[in-house]
Each structure stands twice: as C-alpha cells, then as structure tokens.
C-alpha cells in the first residue's frame, strides 16, 4: 500500500514504514534507548531526505518515549527526581547544540559532521559496552572468578552539590546527572536523536544507577528533549512530516510495548550485549559509507541551499 508523504514529497510503502517503526519501537522499549540512531539511517536508506528524517523521527520519538515511560512507570521504574535534574542539564545542552549546529552549517560541513559524530559516539560507546558485557557474561559462566567491587570510587564522585536520590539509592553530585543530560541535549540538537544510547550506559557506568531504573528514567528525560527538538525543527526548518511520523509512531508504540515486556525477561548483561552489537554494526556501516567510494561523486540539491 503506497502512501504519499506531504512534506517529504514522495510516495512510500505504508507497510514498510510501519514495520520499521515497529522494529525500532521494539528495541526502544527493550533497551530504553530512543532508537533514533537506527531510524535516521533507515529512513535515509528508503529515500527520505536527511533533514526530514531527523525532524520527523524526533516527533515519533516523543510518542515512543511516552508509551515506553508509561510501561516503566507502572512497574515503578522511573526516578523522577533524577530525571528532572538531567532535564535541567538537557535544556542547557540543547541550546549549546543549536549554537554549534549553526557554526557547522555556516562552514558548510554539517553533513559530514553529523556522520562523523555518529561514527565516533556509536563506535566508542558500542565498543565499550561490547567489551564490558562480554566480560560480564564470561564472569557469569565461570562462577569461581573473583567478584568485583560493588562500587568503585572515582574522582567524579567527589564533585560538589551532593544530592540524595532515594529512588535510585544514590547520594551523588547533582552535576553528574545534569552533565549527562547536557550531553544528551547536545546530541538531540546536532544529531537529531534522543541520545538514549549515550544516556543509558552513562547512567549505568557513571552514576551506578540500579539497572532497572535506567531505561524508564532516560525515556522520561527523552520525552522532553525530543518534544523541544520537534518544535524547533517544525518552526525553523519545516522538516516534520506528520504523515510519516504517524506511520512510524503507530508501528513504534506497538513495538515499544512488546519490547518493554521482552526487556523484563532479559538479563542485564545479555541486553547490553545485544544493544552494543546493534550499535557497533550501525557505526561500522556509517564508517564504511564514509570511507568507500560513492557510486556517484556528484550530488544534486534543488532549491537555494
């Protein structure tokens, strides 16, 4: 079934887009990541212009995160206090990100900057998670191995403005979650993604948050950053395609429900291993595109840009 997208000005197969939304929604619910880092390359792959892919899926991520948060909320897996502190940093980060985006645009290299930051962030974080989770799985297989320390004290935990987060059983500097939120906000503005793939490991490894609360709390924060990104994209660039977003979010919200249920049955390290494999695969694909000779060295842009 073909559907015409009014802003992208192209016709797509509705079932294909629904299926893509479902798949990304499933992963989003399972791992607590927004899935934007998967959706952008997928949309561009089926021919949606990159700017519209970024703007539209920010909109779709709002719906996916709301439905994901609801599922986590009922299980009591959202630390609202920590989420709000992260959000405070997220607002500052988004503003800084918009400023950096403007500079890159004036330099005329925004496309390659976006791809490079994808390769860098996905590659680094995916690689780190892959190493960590495979170690954890190996430890599990060999029960005689020595158990690691429960809590490693590093310089990050000596920062001022300590706050107590009862829900997460943490007593840490408020600068830590705010800083993580700020980096997430920057990614929303520059890469047009929720930033969950960065927030989730940061919350696990830097904050030592209970794993059960991580997905719900990061999704809670992503609702607000993606809503701000949608507004900004629609108002300044008119790159939000409501029709495309509708198809993606129908698939996405259904997928997210199944994903959340599947996620509760997964062991923490198995889930992290699976997520890291997907992240590394996307990074490798993007790096391959960057370094391999394109079919046509010339590209065409209609209009004034």
């Amino acid at each position: 079934m073909q559907v015409y997208l009014p802003i992208a000005e192209m016709s797509v197969n509705a079932l294909l887009v629904l299926g893509m939304g479902w798949l990304v929604g499933f992963l989003s619910g399972m791992f607590g990541v927004g899935g934007g880092f998967l959706m952008t390359p997928l949309l561009i792959f089926i021919g949606v212009p990159p700017a519209i892919a970024v703007g539209t899926q920010a909109n779709q991520l709002v719906a996916a995160s709301v439905s994901g948060v609801l599922a986590h909320w009922r299980r009591g897996n959202v630390d609202v206090k920590l989420g709000v502190v992260m959000l405070g940093g997220g607002v500052v980060g988004t503003a800084v990100g918009v400023w950096i985006f403007g500079i890159l645009q004036r330099l005329g290299q925004i496309d390659i900057a976006i791809t490079l930051s994808y390769v860098f962030f996905l590659g680094t974080i995916g690689g780190m998670m892959l190493v960590e989770s495979s170690r954890a799985i190996l430890r599990r297989r060999a029960p005689t191995a020595k158990r690691g320390k429960l809590h490693r004290h590093i310089w990050l935990h000596g920062l001022p403005f300590k706050m107590r987060f009862q829900r997460s059983k943490l007593y840490i500097s408020a600068l830590l979650p705010a800083g993580i939120g700020a980096v997430g906000g920057m990614l929303v503005a520059i890469m047009g993604i929720g930033g969950g793939f960065l927030l989730v490991p940061a919350m696990i490894y830097l904050l030592n948050m209970p794993a059960g609360l991580v997905a719900g709390t990061s999704l809670f924060q992503i609702i607000f950053t993606t809503a701000a990104a949608t507004l900004l994209q629609a108002a300044t660039n008119q790159t939000v395609d409501a029709m495309l977003a509708l198809l993606l979010l129908i698939g996405g919200v259904i997928g997210a429900q199944f994903g959340t249920k599947a996620g509760t049955r997964l062991r923490g390290e198995t889930a992290r291993m699976a997520l890291s494999l997907i992240v590394v695969a996307v990074a490798l694909k993007l790096a391959w595109d960057l370094f391999s000779r394109p079919d046509d060295l010339f590209t065409l842009t209609m209009g004034l840009r």
């Binding site: 802003i7 000005e9 709002v62 010339f298």
Partner: protein, 256 residues
Amino acid sequence: MMAGVRKRRLIQGAAALAGLLLGGTVAATVWAQQLVADLSSHLIAITTGFTGTEVVLFGTTDGAGDVAIVVTGPRGPATVRRKQRVAGMWMNTDSVRFEQVPSFYTVAVSRPLDQLVGRPVLERQQLGLPQLQLPADATLPPDELAAYRNALIRNKQRQGLYAISMGQVAFLGERLFRTNIYFPANVPTGLYNVEALLIRDGDVVSAQTTPLVVSKIGFSAEVSDFARNRPVIYGVAAVVGAIAAGWAAGAAFRRV
C-alpha cells in the same frame, strides 16, 4: 472543508477548460491553425494514495509533418556538489550552482530528432537533454563544467524526473497524433509547460503551449499548507498528537 477545496478546484478546472475552448474557437476563426493539441487532464492531483500518473496528449495537424512534445517542470536554482577524498573520507569539496533548472523534463517525438531538424533548430527550441540550457554561476574550464552539468542530468534521471530516452508520438493516419506522458510519484509540484511543435522540412513551423498544474489535493495539501503557513502551531500540534498517541497506546496495552 476537503469537499470545499475539491469544489473550488473543479470550478477552477471548468473555468480553465472554458477559457481553453474559447481560445480554441478564437484561434480557429483566425483560419491558419496548423497544430492543435490538448491534454487528457490539466491537473495532476497529488492525493494521499498518489503513486504516479499518466497524461495523454492528443492533437491534430493540418497535413503531413512530424510532431515533438516537450514537457518542462517549474524552473529554479540547483546546486551540484562534488565529493573528493580528504583524509580517506569522501566529503563535499566543490560545488556549482545552476540557475533555471527545470524540475522535470521529458521529450516525445514521432521520429528520431536527428532525422527531423538540424542542430541550430534543436538548440533554439532546447529540444532534447543535450540542448537544455542550464546557466551556471561558476567560471570553470568547459570540460569541468560539463562534468557538473552531466552530473545534474544523471541525478535527475536517477530520480526519474528527466527522461532517459525519448518518448514516442504515435500518428493515427496522417493528421491525428497522441502520446502518453508519465509522471512518477515524486513529481515536483507547480506549473508545467507542455509544448507541442510541428516540424516540416527541417524546421519548426508551428507551436502550441498548454499549461499543466501539478498540485497536492486533500489531506496531503492541508498538511503541507499547515506546516508552511503556521509552522509553530504545526509543531505544537505534532508534539501534542505524539503525546496523545503514545498515551493511548500505553493505555491500550495496559491489560495485555
């Protein structure tokens, strides 16, 4: 509201048709109308289910001769960028901006063009892709500029917006002719020019231009108008809609 839009377009269409008929009768009284052509439809409506469409162009000549049809979409600027290897990565390094680039271009002929007219006529009428005039803003060596120009045409052909080969104009007898013009799903919107040329003894002896409107209609038109005219409210609506949809889905799955 949608019915209202449809009605308005119908009235517009009827008015256009009446004008056309009137123009036709006026021209007929001027006696020497060598070529008359018309389209099966003057409006291509892009609705939600639009997957491309075909328009039939038909007409008659006052005697033996050949016919060429040129369909040109609205013209505008376009930028062609070239990638080069920088530190192992392929990135955009140079670009050339072209002016007056037709968003759509296709030609149909009753016989191969080189059998009909010479080069000067082809160039004068901009008949065929090699003759299409695309002024560039860059001062580059001719072969460099040609590479950019060819890249523009190649990209357009890949999108299906410039025809790769010429279409066929079929004659039914000596005077009646017809051809099918195909418009793909990604056809740009705007005012198109459909030009019919009558060719005799190596020159164009008569020409007629018919307008064709490609426009979004119904739901897709309303969405794109909303997004363009009220971008902030559109953004708010998109966010509110997404929150509602997410909430509804979350509530619906509560018991599953």
